[in-house]
Symmetry: C2
Subunit: 428 residues, 2 copies
């Protein structure tokens, strides 16, 4: 494939992603859904416009996209807020991880789904665990409820279950991608490696990262800061894979956590934003291209998808019982935890590639279906539950400060220089 | 090649380019030189760290880089300034294109160089025509002489000869890449097609571009503006190639000219800057990887390179006679026109790829050598000539407003939000 043909493919990808996102935005639905659907449309199982003999261009750009996405999630995760938010968020997160996993596991084993192997059951349960921070934040922002105790609990819990989900991802990838030796020892070993890597990155990184970013600022060649930040995210991602056998996104998340603790956090976000705008949608579109559309013509898969989606919803609604305070609406918290997103889709990507021998095209379609349904269902349920309550107009501004929410699906709010938070406002 | 191996290659490319650029910056030399040299070092003829079986990743990213570079040059080119600058710049440009072309042509034919074919002679002459706007502006900025009449004449002339150089590039690529029919009719036909395409893009674009960018701003999904601008540059570039047989960069330059006339010009520049910082150095590094280092061990090539470089210097110094005003130093203008840059290197890239049958590895090395020598020689000569004159301290600020100069080689001056020119300065 020639260079120019690859550029044509890149244009098709970027334009398609924007069209899909924009159509969904007009229907007040998350842009990710549009990017997924348009990907399925132009992908290998339908129009075949992209992802053929492109020498891995699409998958490489998609990998950069998801690494940048998780780096930004890490950047925005305030480690100190965990202690402030108390135990409610932690309890909600743990229950919200365990329940869907158990429900998903037994659904695959007992119904059975896709042959009902233990491997597939673990994969399906794991794919159901993580609430999407970005989509959840966006839904509450849309409803002008981002400042409520419920929203804060949900977002804290979602961040925690993202971390747990990423560790589970590392364990599942290593377990199912390896020799398939199931023992408590192996699971503990992999978990220890994952947790250990994250701890080392956070501890060492907290010391080294400020020096690294200060060095970047001292360089004479302009652009060193943004290119250096980009390199930092990808390098730690690759280190996670090479040194600890984790997915690169786990490393990228840890890199983001570390960079987010430095005083350069705002600048890194501001400078990386245009680059993230370019690459992140390619990841969601790429997942779409991997979906076998034919699978959705199969009644068995549609039924299984409906069952898994229902269990995914129930599993998260149950997590509301983790709320300790009487003043917080448990049902609202449970419903707010429903949307799955990037981590679920990363499982789908894993299923379509590294774990192809364990996860069939049909089971992968079930995961994508589950992500789409939970993401579509939650806003509708929340709208109904919140209709009676008063609005909080002041929270609109806060709603638009989440860079990740922006990248995922929020409307245009202003030019980048207006968003730059470091700059003192003109006081004429 | 796996996705992760491709990411490792990308990291090597980005880090190497930054190291090369930074080392050169410390020696007060243009960063492009460092990117070229490091590319030659890690490329296929030396360390072989990049560009092997990467499925065209490096060449694709490099093509995106050069398209963005020419788009930015176009963005900064003020069409109206041509009339203001008068006829001196035009005369300097025309003489500065014609003389090196003729000198280069006859040097190849008569010495002879590389067999002395007519095709190679045309290629070599054409590669010597275009002064680098970016490097020239940067050199005068370094010398605090950007506001002099000499500097304005040189930059005006350099922009004009960039346009002429790009048209010559289109003609040469079509002529030498095609059946090799040499006739005045073919040359006129291709030139007409190139000029016609540029005129159509500028005329139609002037009407359509404001609507396009206003549409982007009206979209709800954030990031649409920057992704849309990126798509605009690449799409017009591809259109140039598909519709008029021109190099994509010619289309990208025209797209930049058009976008630069809209009121969105500053915002497009500001938002694309981080993306350009990422991709543009990859182009210069890529050119370096294509250089056959073994060629420089060949005395014949070194001698030919020295001769061509000397003629390239003489050809531009002569162009100073085009200056009409008595108050402008002709010798200074001529010397200021010496540095070749991006257009010369684009010829080298063409020689290493599409025109591989006409241009050997040795002749290609001569072009790269010519670019490096002219770029290194000019600042030294200008320094000597300007030592006696008074400084103009006020021009420092202006010197750093050229985004292209920044991308090519200028030192860090501030965070992107500080550079945003739209924003009113705080007046506390």
């Amino acid at each position: 494939m020639e260079v120019l043909e690859r550029l044509v493919e890149l244009l098709v990808i970027l334009v398609a992603a924007k069209v899909g996102a924009e159509v969904m935005a007009r229907f007040r639905q998350p842009a990710v859904i549009g990017e997924l659907l348009i990907g399925a449309l132009i992908g290998g199982s339908a129009l075949k416009l992209v992802g053929g003999a492109d020498g891995g261009l699409l998958s490489t750009l998609a990998e950069i996209g998801v690494i940048l996405l998780l780096f930004e999630v890490g950047l925005e995760t305030d480690l100190r807020s965990f202690t402030r938010l108390g135990t409610s968020a932690l309890a909600v997160a743990l229950i919200g991880v365990a329940t869907p996993f158990v429900l998903g596991y037994f659904a695959v084993r007992l119904l059975p789904i896709g042959g009902g192997s233990t491997e597939l059951a673990i994969f399906m349960g794991a794919a159901m665990t993580a609430t999407s921070v970005g989509i959840t934040a966006r839904v509450f922002a849309d409803l002008r409820r981002l400042h409520t105790d419920e929203a804060k609990t949900i977002i804290g819990a979602a961040v925690i279950d993202d971390i747990i989900g990423l560790i589970i991802l590392g364990v599942v990838a290593a377990l199912l991608g390896g020799n398939g030796e199931f023992s408590a020892g192996v699971v503990v070993g992999i978990t220890a490696k994952a947790v250990g890597f994250l701890l080392v990155v956070v501890l060492v990184g907290t010391l080294v990262a400020p020096l690294f970013f200060r060095l970047l600022l001292a360089l004479r060649v302009e652009g060193s800061f943004v290119v250096g930040s980009f390199v930092f995210a990808i390098a730690v991602g690759l280190a996670a894979e090479r040194l600890a056998g984790l997915e690169p996104i786990v490393g990228a998340f840890a890199a983001g956590l570390v960079a987010g603790q430095t005083r350069f956090s705002d600048r890194i976000q501001a400078e990386l934003r245009p680059i993230a705008f370019l690459f992140v949608p390619i990841f969601f579109l790429f997942i779409g291209t991997e979906v076998e559309l034919a699978a959705f013509g199969n009644t068995e898969i549609l039924v299984a998808g409906a069952v898994i989606s229902l269990l995914a919803i129930v599993g998260k609604v149950v997590s509301g019982v983790g709320v300790m305070s009487r003043s917080i609406d448990r049902r609202l918290v449970g419903v707010g935890m429903i949307p799955r997103g990037e981590v679920g889709l990363i499982f789908a990507a894993l299923g379509a590639n590294e774990l192809r021998e364990v996860v069939g095209a049909g089971e992968n379609a079930i995961v994508v279906l589950m992500v789409v349904i939970t993401t579509l269902v939650a806003p509708v349920m929340l709208h109904r539950m919140l209709r009676r309550r008063p609005l909080e107009p002041d929270s609109v501004e806060e709603a638009t400060t989440s860079a990740m929410g922006k990248i995922l699906d929020s409307p245009v709010t202003g030019s980048p220089e207006q968003d730059a938070t470091q700059q003192p406002p003109p006081e004429g």
